[in-house]
């Protein structure tokens, strides 16, 4: 497993480099699309969970429980075998349903940590419920949930490797193919692992920056109790 001499030159071999870049592109695409869709979907479900409209509330709760309590791989297989989607889309949809159920819980906890007086004040000022949510509640909730949200985005980044199982040529799949061809397991492993780490570092830095940038002096800053 740990060869005496590491040969990282092999990565620049024109035979393998294009494959690796292809894998990198797939992983990045999954990551970006998955994160955008999951955040939007998760936010909608999270808001629905606190809705006064009972059917919507129950639907959102059921959605969260179902997708949090089944393995990501089974969800991906559902889209791949059950609905017979293209592998890439099956992987993307599986990632989105799984992650959005976690993000929904994060958003719900964030909204609940905004003091109720804010909502009452908005009512008193005559905001309608759409404006109340988008202009009063969510801006505060999102500031509070930046750290747990970025955690979920990093989880999704790592979870993109699930598409390996449905033969989408992402960085994990390319790692397996190339290292089986060349027997340079460790070299390709390091590069694949670093790819995920670097994306996660970027997300962590962005969340650190966002926390600073959107900081409002004097805004309530409560500990958000979240179960992961």
């Amino acid at each position: 497993m740990f060869p005496a001499v590491l040969d990282f030159q092999i990565l620049l071999d024109p035979q393998y480099l294009p494959l690796f870049i292809k894998g990198l592109k797939t992983t990045l695409l999954l990551c970006v699309l998955g994160n955008i869709v999951s955040v939007i979907l998760g936010t909608l479900i999270g808001i629905s969970k606190l809705s006064d409209f009972k059917p919507l509330k129950y639907f959102a709760s059921a959605y969260v429980e179902v997708f949090r309590n089944t393995p990501l791989l089974v969800q991906v297989y559902f889209f791949y075998f059950g609905l017979a989607l293209e592998p890439f889309w099956a992987g993307l949809f599986g990632l989105c349903t799984y992650t959005s159920s976690y993000i929904a819980e994060v958003v719900r906890a964030g909204i609940q940590s905004v003091p109720e007086i804010e909502s009452k004040a908005a009512d008193a000022l005559g905001f309608n419920s759409y404006d109340k949510i988008t202009k009063i509640i969510l801006p505060q909730a999102f500031r509070i949930i930046i750290p747990p949200m970025s955690n979920q985005l990093m989880n999704l980044t790592k979870n993109t490797s699930i598409v390996y199982f449905i033969t989408v040529a992402d960085i994990t799949y390319i790692f397996e193919t190339l290292s089986a061809q060349t027997f340079k397991f460790f070299e390709f492993f390091v590069v694949a692992a670093l790819t995920y780490m670097i994306i996660c570092w970027i997300i962590a830095l962005a969340s650190y920056w966002a926390e600073k940038y959107f900081y409002v002096p004097g805004m309530i800053n409560l500990e958000v109790g979240l179960d992961h």
């Binding site: 949090r68 393995p71 089974v74 059950g82 790592k158 994990t172 397991f185 995920y196």
Partner: protein
Amino acid sequence: MHIIALVNLIPPDFSLIFDGLKITLIIAFWTAVFALPFGILLGVMRSSRIKLFRWPAALYIELIRSLPLVLYMVMIFLTMSFGAESRGVFTLASFTAAYIAEIVRGGLKSVDKNQLRAAYSLGMKTPQVLMKIAIPQAVTRMIPALVNQFNVVIKDTSLVSIGLLELTKAGKILSERKPMYSMEIILLIAVIYFVICYGLSIFGQYLERRYAERLQ
């Protein structure tokens, strides 16, 4: 999409699913057995004041936590040559231990410092303080989180299907064998996982509530 018709599955199919479920539970059980002591050891080392203990533990935890489980599992299955079941348990246990270590660290952190000071002032040595004062208190606080982690382990066993015929792999094989009914088969697999995991999460919530009540 057609109506759910499990009647289309014949007894051998069900026995494949049943065998898969057995493997899933066995893997999850052994993972818990190995990951728990290793995770507790790592968590205690990570909380130590001695750098020789703290730094290797911190390095291990951070490295594992930054790796995708699938990538780690593919690497282990490619490079290690012992039995498939042992490889699966090894991967899951070494991976889960890093997450358990973080739970343990959080639990130890939550123990009131005055308790430790009191123990030291009574003349106890560090191992005694750990075993008799810190860990018993930390464990009560950690149990809900550990139950949740076990929930995650059950879901993660699905990734062992790289090299083992467990529940998810059984579903995959059956839906490739009978593409007409793949929807029903995957749903059946999902329901089995859901029953186990949802049951566990309800149990975890119950423990959490009971702990919260006991604090008041």
